[in-house]
Amino acid sequence: MADVTLYHWEPNANSGKPMLALMEKGVPFDSHYIDMLNFDQHKPEYLAINPQGTIPAMTHRGPWGERMLVESTAIMEYVNEQFDGPALMPADARARWRIRWWMKFMDQWLAPSFSMFGWKYFVGPNSLATHGREKIEEQISRIPLPERQVAWRKAVFGLFSDEEMAESSRRIEHGIKMLEAELGKREWLASDEYSLADVNGFNLAYAMPLSQPHLANDDLTPNIMRWLRAIYRRPATQACWKLGRTRMASRVEILEQDYIPPRDESEGVTSGVR
């Protein structure tokens, strides 16, 4: 039994961040898969660990007893500072500032737009089809934080207005252009060294060539594609994505392809993984 236990869903978005950070650092951990679409995160046994019912969460046992940590980006910073292993933040203070800026920008501005599309076209309909409306309503009513209840209803039932979807679409397009420009400046995102920003960004962006085929491909965004493939080839990334159980995680295999041409936007929607 390892000192660290990580409660996570698929290697994707927020769950994938601490998974990949732990693997890059070489920290052994017990992996505890939480099936988010089965609402495992709102069951009493999980709420006993993380009363907020959010995933991921990490526990770390030591002389201090047991610590419980939440919020994926903050967990990554803890993992990097607490454990030996390769540094995932550079020594240069200015590069560290830039990494933090990009992580916040992705976490708060860009990722919510991606997840709105993900829920609307993929996760929400799948969840409804599997569990039915009544069971889902009952599960949502047990979520402790009121704002999370609102967010879950919107997500599962696809209650996003046309304006919200249009705004998310605009942000995705603009964000991809920003990423492409930034990755044209340095080998890695925001720094000359592989860092938490790359771990964070890969979790957000690995499936873009599938979900946004008209915006992210080898013709339009060569820097993004170079960067995604470089991260994909890392042993930690390979090991991490093997922990995935659904076709959400297996989307990463698109990065095996040496050349990904532009395709129509509709192919991103109809592929069912947007």
């Binding site: 919020e71 967010a151 919107k154």
Partner: protein
Amino acid sequence: MTSMILYHGEPNGPSLAVLAALAESGVTAECRAIDLLRGERHILPGVTEGTARDMGVEGEGPVLVIANEDGGGEAMTESVFIAQFLDECGANTLQPKDAYAHWQMLMWCRRVTERCAPAAAFLGCKATAHAALAAMDDSAFAALSSHIVSEDLRTRWDMIRDGEFTEAQVNDSVRHVTGAVAMVEEQLADGREWLMGDVTIADFETFAWLNGMPALLPEVFAGKDRTAAWMDRVRARPSVQSALAKASKPAPEKSWAPGPEINRWG
């Protein structure tokens, strides 16, 4: 050390937090006051890398411009991260060294910047910035607005000028400020002087966003004696006093400019 210029608004909100952190850090930076509500942040001289200024989540916060070797300048934004940067370049006293305590500080700052800050900026702009922007003539406002790169930030400016403050948003904002005050009151329950034990960035960030709120929401602060005493302690620190002394007019806690957006997911 590379030369740095800190462009800041009136000492309130994120500008106050960074001015205080600068003073605590001992780092040398030239401070230049700008009028955030005139959009001056968007026309700073010498910025050749402006992504963080243009697209920062924080809205109209301070901008630290660092000189590049090529003569250009990179604009740094987000008050917590600027404060971390200054601390790490200087005295290195404002962040816990222990990884877990550092995580606690980062989590605290996230709760403040994600929930309290958008609410405080919303209520503050309703109270003061709306009237100032509404009084501008259309062509002057259009000229200001044309320099704002971020479409969603520009929309927030428009809504403040037009007086679009829905009852639901006002109530939600009051709820978030109430939550932040409750969080401070509870954190101080064990008799500690500062939020994380020792003085950290969390004290300055939290104080800076709350300092204008007692005047707007006195009922929220009623009976919160520990919070009131902590605010007095933060205010009394020489770094905060020197920051507040940079005010160009009385009552800087009434100075607001468009802040972070309210969470789109509700």
